[in-house]
């Protein structure tokens, strides 16, 4: 069934190996993507899968074309990490028509498109948001309080999903917690630093009881913003996501109240594992969610940072 000549990672051990396209919106241009790719390539090498990887740079039109390129080269399976989940229905239908199994990775497809994918592997971004909301809601206690959100790059679907989950969970379980400010930190520490500081200025340090930074890099920025103003970070709990090399030290030192361990390694590996299962026609659960352990000062040591 091998239709393209590329023998990247091709391992003589398995019969020619499966040809799989991985349609990703990021790669070596992002920290997460870099480690995701490492794990993915390693897994592929083990299982004798020939991977062809694309990076659409979150341009959904580009990804759509790469999808049709993939389908045209008739691979055995496709791993799709949507650039924007709303835009992938055509890709999924085309793949289905061509009889190519597709698994979603890292960002789940919309419920109405669920029937078009074999399974989803990765974090529940919505779930990540909810977990963050729990952490913050619980630490604030029944009294609740005012919080601010440091968002990711505007329009980015992961960021959007996490925020949605976060706000839903607050509304559902923590009515006393109110979001009084939100600004994009563009996934970047320096931007997060500035906007957090500015929100502290405009809303008043005393009025802010907690900060949700959509990832650890930006959490680090938020923390530095507080330190720069002589605020003790432990007094305003910050919750991030990732347990990154940048975030973990802050958690260990208690500057960052908590984070959620999202493992690019798990993500990359399982994307490959389950596409192989899908190709082999195994019956699959609708979702294989990445375990998202809550990391705090106490257990951080047990979870070495991966990115």
């Amino acid at each position: 069934s091998a239709s393209n000549g590329s023998d990247a990672g091709g391992d003589a051990g398995t019969d020619g190996g499966y040809n799989v396209y991985a349609l990703l919106p990021q790669g070596n241009d992002q920290p997460y993507g870099t480690n995701y790719l490492k794990a993915m390539n390693a897994a592929a090498a083990d299982m004798g899968v020939n991977l062809t990887i694309t990076n659409a740079e979150y341009d959904s039109a580009k990804q759509a074309n790469e999808c049709s390129v993939a389908i045209a080269s008739k691979p055995d399976g496709i791993i799709l990490w949507p650039a924007a989940v709303d835009t992938i229905r055509p890709c999924l239908e085309a793949a289905k028509a061509a009889g190519i199994p597709v698994n979603a990775s890292n960002s789940d497809v919309l419920p109405e498109d669920k029937s078009l994918v074999g399974t989803y592997t990765g974090p529940s971004n919505d779930g990540v948001g909810r977990a963050a909301a729990k952490l913050i809601g619980d630490v604030l206690g029944d009294g609740g309080g005012n919080i601010i959100i440091v968002q990711g790059l505007s329009g980015n679907s992961t960021a959007i999903d996490r925020e949605a989950g976060f706000r839903d969970e607050l509304a559902a379980s923590y009515p006393n917690v109110t979001v009084i400010g939100q600004q994009p930190g563009d996934w970047a520490k320096d931007v997060a630093l500035t906007v957090t500081s500015e929100m502290l200025t405009s809303l008043g340090e005393e009025n802010i009881d907690a900060i949700y930074a959509v990832d650890d890099t930006m959490a680090a920025g938020a923390i530095e913003a507080m330190e720069n103003r002589g605020i003790d970070p432990t007094t305003i709990p910050v919750v991030g996501t990732g347990n990154t090399e940048l975030g973990q030290p802050n958690v260990l030192s208690g500057k960052q109240y908590a984070t959620l361990f999202q493992s690019p390694v798990w993500d990359g590996e399982n994307a490959v594992t389950y596409i192989v299962d899908a190709i082999d026609g195994k019956t699959l659960e609708p979702n294989y969610f990445m375990p998202i352990p809550e990391i705090t000062k106490d257990n951080a040591a047990e979870y070495p940072a991966e990115w």
Binding site: Y32, P184, V195, L200, S202, L246
Partner: protein, 336 residues
Amino acid sequence: MTHTEIIKTPTPASIAGGSGNSASKTVAWVASRGIFIFTAVLLVFSAIFVNGFASSVNIIDVFHRASAIGIVAIGMTFVVISANYIDLSVVAQIATSGVILMALSPTYGVLGAMAIALFFALLYGLVNGISVGFLKANAVVVTLGTTGIGAGILSLVTGGTIYYGPTGGPIDAFGDARVGPFPLSAFVLIIVAIVASIVLSRTKFGFMIRSYGSNKQATRLAGVNSGGVVVGAFVLTALAAMIAGFVLAAYSNTAVSTMSEGYDFRALAAVIIGGNSLFGGRGSIFRTFIGVIFISVLSNILVLSGFSFAWQQLVTGAVIVFAVALDALARKAEKR
């Protein structure tokens, strides 16, 4: 700060003097200085109406917003005034120097890393400058090409790794350092501005850049090595971009290959809002500096007032359109 420029584009009409056109001359005078007035108004307005703007902590944030972009814009001014529109490759240049600083200081020490960054800055400046100055290629296209090459290679080499320095290390210390109420980076910005301003307005070289921007042919026929002048302009821009990379990296004590996305057009916007002419010749570093302050204050108060990213973009764009339209009308008023 030194500040010499030809505020108006002189036309034969402007010595016609006499009746009628004195009115339009006043319009022109006001308009050509519009940005200074706006900036003043904006500052006063913000101080009075925007809660927390005047606080010392916020001044710091304004300068944090201003420093890196400002340094790039000041560098870019040399390319703009030499009538070469823009150096798109500053995006790649900033990231390159920032990443080199953070990634290599551990092994080569801070100064060693800076030296290596300097090498690449010069490389960028020379490739861009020679292609534009001697091969007479269009600057926009050339720098578009070098961006692709430079950013591509940087990303290939570093991946998306976030390089971060030890907390309290020299770079971090620089980033956090304050002089009085101001962050050190603010002084870097001001020093760069003063030096650049002196170079542009007082030195032989700056004079040649302005003259070249004003009339390439006449400058060449006066025996100036015009290609060399262009190379000089691009090298200065590259050096500024390098410094901006250092400042940006030090600010957050981190660097990553994507750290400077959007800095190309944002820097150009600052140059233009300052009222520097894209046709070259006309303009000053001081104008760019004011343009930077204007933009930084604007985004700062938009965040302070809780505007969403969407509105921030919209307002910024609208302001640029307004500023440049006014500049054009000013020139028309003079011609009349």
